[in-house]
Structures are given as structure tokens and as C-alpha cells.
């Protein structure tokens, strides 16, 4: 019974660990990009501009804001062939213009719509793999929860990011269980656990005191 449980935990540790390893690599590698504010250019950065006329705008545009505005702009964006997560929409009242940022990991599209003649200038910038990874690391993030996750794929990404956390918790707990079964390694293990705790709490205390 105990041996069976051990084998089950060991196999789950292995298979779940393998499943989440690409996600762990993504989150770990991007730590270096974020901590040093550095993005390696993996692939060339290209930009593409096109103009779309008769951009579909909601009739009650002036009364909309936040998520309702994004939802109302989506049909127009889709008709213009722009897909992705819509960011904070700026309404330049003086210029009678809407600036709509749309993000797909690795591509930033800016749609500038003239409200008067309904002409949209669409600039799509391919930003590359490193920026795609950084976007994913930071998504959904703490800002603008009311408007975020307005594209189904980014909603799925949030589930994946959450799942990575829960699976890391499982991997770490199961790893502790598997280590504890190795009697010869217990004293070294306890020392390392203690040293890790001391390092973290010591640093956190020094930073936040």
C-alpha cells in the first residue's frame, strides 16, 4: 500500500514535472529579461502599416468605457483583421481619434481610428520571441483587471499560469515527500531547507523592515 503510494507520487512528480517544465523555463528565463530590463532580439523586428476604411464603430461610442467599450470595438477590429488582447483604449477627444492597442504575444498592433471619417490606420509590429515570453510572464498581471482577459487565448493563458503555480506546489510537496523517503539524505536536506528559509526570510526582513 505504502510502496504503491510512493510509486504513484513518484510517477506524478515525474510526469507533471515534465509537463510544466516548458512553463517553468519560460517564467525563469524571463526573470533575467525583466530584472535587467534587457530583451534579446530573437528574430527580426518588423513593422507593417495598412489603412482600413469604414471601420465599424459602436453607435453609442461616447457613452462607453472600460470593458464595455472593448467589447463594442471587437466586431470592428475583427472585421479589420485585428485579433488579440485589447489594452487600454485612449479616446483623444480633441483629435476625434481612438487609439486601440491590441496585443498578441510577440506582436503589438496599434489601431488609430478617426471617428469622423471612420478610417483606421493599423500598425502591426512584430516584437519577437523574447517580448512574447515577457508578455506571457506578466499576463494577466495586477493592472486593469476589469478590462484584461478580453481575448479567449489570454483567458486560457491565465488558467495555464494559475495551473503552473498549483502544479509547482504539487511538485515541490511531492519532491519533499520523495526526498524524505531517502533516509541517507535527510540531514543534508534539512540543512538545505533551513538554509533556504533563513536566506529568504533574512532577505525579506532586511528589505521590508
Amino acid at each position: 500500500m505504502r510502496a504503491g503510494f510512493f510509486r504513484l507520487i513518484r510517477d506524478l512528480h515525474l510526469y507533471i514535472g515534465l509537463f510544466i517544465s516548458p512553463f517553468v523555463i519560460l517564467f525563469s528565463v524571463t526573470v533575467f529579461f525583466l530584472a535587467y530590463s534587457w530583451l534579446p532580439r530573437i528574430g527580426s523586428e518588423t513593422s507593417n502599416t495598412r489603412i482600413v476604411s469604414a471601420f465599424l464603430l459602436p453607435e453609442n461610442l461616447a457613452s462607453l468605457s472600460g470593458r464595455a467599450l472593448i467589447d463594442a470595438l471587437k466586431p470592428g477590429l475583427e472585421r479589420a483583421g485585428v485579433q488579440g488582447e485589447v489594452g487600454f483604449v485612449r479616446h483623444l477627444i480633441k483629435e476625434e481619434k481612438l487609439i486601440i492597442p491590441v496585443i498578441i504575444p510577440g506582436r503589438v498592433t496599434t489601431v488609430s481610428v478617426s471617428i469622423t471619417n471612420r478610417e483606421a490606420t493599423i500598425v502591426a509590429r512584430e516584437t519577437g520571441l523574447a517580448e512574447a515570453m515577457v508578455t506571457l510572464h506578466q499576463s494577466p498581471g495586477p493592472h486593469g483587471p476589469a478590462i484584461r482577459m478580453n481575448w479567449v487565448y489570454m483567458m486560457v493563458w491565465r488558467w495555464m499560469a494559475d495551473a503552473t503555480v498549483y502544479l509547482i506546489l504539487f511538485i515541490s510537496l511531492s519532491g519533499v515527500y520523495l526526498w524524505y523517503a531517502l533516509r541517507a539524505e535527510r540531514s543534508v536536506g534539512f540543512f538545505l531547507l533551513f538554509a533556504g528559509a533563513l536566506s529568504l526570510f533574512g532577505l525579506a526582513y532586511a528589505l521590508s523592515r
Partner: protein, 229 residues
């Protein structure tokens, strides 16, 4: 059947070169040594990541529950040798007894007025210096433990989209080294686990399915979405 967590030893085939036998043993040992040392860090970054992705979780609300204190101190204007903003800000902080990472949020237009922020996990200082009055006004916001945890996740002293801000507090640099260590440790754990898995012929197929699924989903977000849309 050997496994990632089982010690290997006398049961190994004799034709395995000695070096690889030792490599395997240390690869396995270092895998769980790194995991045990990094355990608390992993829990911190995993948990804080979850909190940052769910700003609506009211139990972890920190900013709205902050405690604010306002005070003023007398300061002497920095000498002419302290020309740049960073040196002047450091001198003001020394006089006011404040420590932390300096954050530039405004552009200085009047040489007699100097506004900047100082942050460290749990504490936010909004500082306004009036050199004519020789006074510094400080608005200090202290957040709860959840706020400390959330800030620790992102406390690097730099911002991707703002080149003005750079690390200027030694403890921030130390924390970034810790972050680097955790990230490097996790990458090592992934690579060492791939090796251990590959040395288990009976688990190769199942492992390949699990790894392939992870790669497929991750690849969809990193490359596939751009290709599809």
C-alpha cells in the same frame, strides 16, 4: 526499475562508465538539493504570482488597507558637489533617515523643488523637497504582509519601459541576485529532470507525452498565436 528519486548504485550495469555513474548520482542529488534550498523561494514567487494575477482577491488587498503617515523634516540643501539628481536624492534620504530604492516619476522643472519616490517592500515614500524652505515633506504608505509579498515578486529597481530608473539601493541588487539564483536553479532543475527522465527507458513514452503536451501548449502561446492570427 530505477527512478528519479531512487539511489542508483550496485544495480547499475557494469559498462556504464564511471564518470557517467558519478554524473548521474550528482545530477540526482543536486536536483533535490536545489529543490530543497529553493523551496521557500519557489513558494514565495509562485504564491505572489498567483496574487498578482488575481487582483480581485479581497483577502490579499493591500493598497486600499494601507496606513498613511505624513511628516516634515528640516533638511540642509545638498552642496554644489552633489550635482545630479541621484546624489541629491541620496543626501536627502540620509538626512531624513529613509532607505530604499529611488523611483523617478516626475521631471524636475524647478531647481528649488525636488519630487521623487522611494520604495521598499511594504513601504512607499512620496517625497517632496523644497530647498528654499529647507523642508522635506514625506507621505509614507505602509502596506500589510500581502503587499510585501506582492512587491517582492517585482522588486527589481528597473522597469522595462522606463530607462530613467535603475537600481540604486544595494539591497535591491542583492534581491535581484537572489531572483537570478532562483531562476537559474529552476532552469537547472528542469534540465536535470530531463536527463533523469531520459535515463528511465520505461518512462520515456509517458514522459514524452507529458513533455510534448507542455511544449505544445507553451509553443502555441510563444509562437503559434502569431502564426495563426
Amino acid at each position: 526499475m530505477p527512478s528519479a528519486a531512487e539511489p542508483t548504485g550496485p544495480g547499475k550495469p557494469a559498462n556504464v562508465p564511471r564518470f557517467w555513474g558519478r554524473f548521474e548520482r550528482w545530477n540526482r542529488k543536486l536536483h533535490f538539493y536545489a529543490g530543497l534550498f529553493l523551496l521557500w523561494f519557489m513558494w514565495l514567487f509562485a504564491g505572489s504570482g498567483l496574487l498578482l494575477n488575481h487582483p480581485n482577491w479581497s483577502f490579499a488587498e493591500s493598497w486600499n488597507n494601507r496606513q498613511e503617515t505624513n511628516y516634515e523634516r528640516e533638511v540642509t540643501a545638498p552642496g554644489p558637489e552633489l550635482k545630479d539628481d541621484l546624489a541629491q536624492a541620496r543626501e536627502i534620504l540620509r538626512q531624513a533617515g529613509i532607505e530604499g530604492e529611488i523611483l523617478w516619476t516626475t521631471t524636475r522643472t524647478d531647481p528649488n523643488l525636488f519630487d521623487f519616490q522611494v520604495r521598499r517592500p511594504g513601504h512607499f515614500f512620496f517625497i517632496k523637497v523644497d530647498f528654499l524652505r529647507k523642508r522635506v515633506s514625506v507621505r509614507q504608505s505602509d502596506v500589510n504582509l500581502w503587499g510585501v509579498v506582492k512587491v517582492l515578486h517585482t522588486f527589481t529597481g528597473v522597469q522595462m519601459d522606463d530607462p530613467r530608473n535603475s537600481r540604486d539601493w544595494p539591497l535591491t541588487s542583492l534581491w535581484v541576485v537572489a531572483m537570478d539564483g532562483v531562476a537559474a536553479g529552476l532552469i537547472f532543475m528542469v534540465l536535470s529532470s530531463l536527463y533523469m527522465w531520459f535515463r528511465l527507458p520505461g518512462k520515456r513514452l509517458g514522459g514524452a507525452v507529458a513533455l510534448g503536451l507542455g511544449l505544445l501548449i507553451c509553443g502555441l502561446f510563444c509562437f503559434g498565436l502569431r502564426w495563426l492570427y
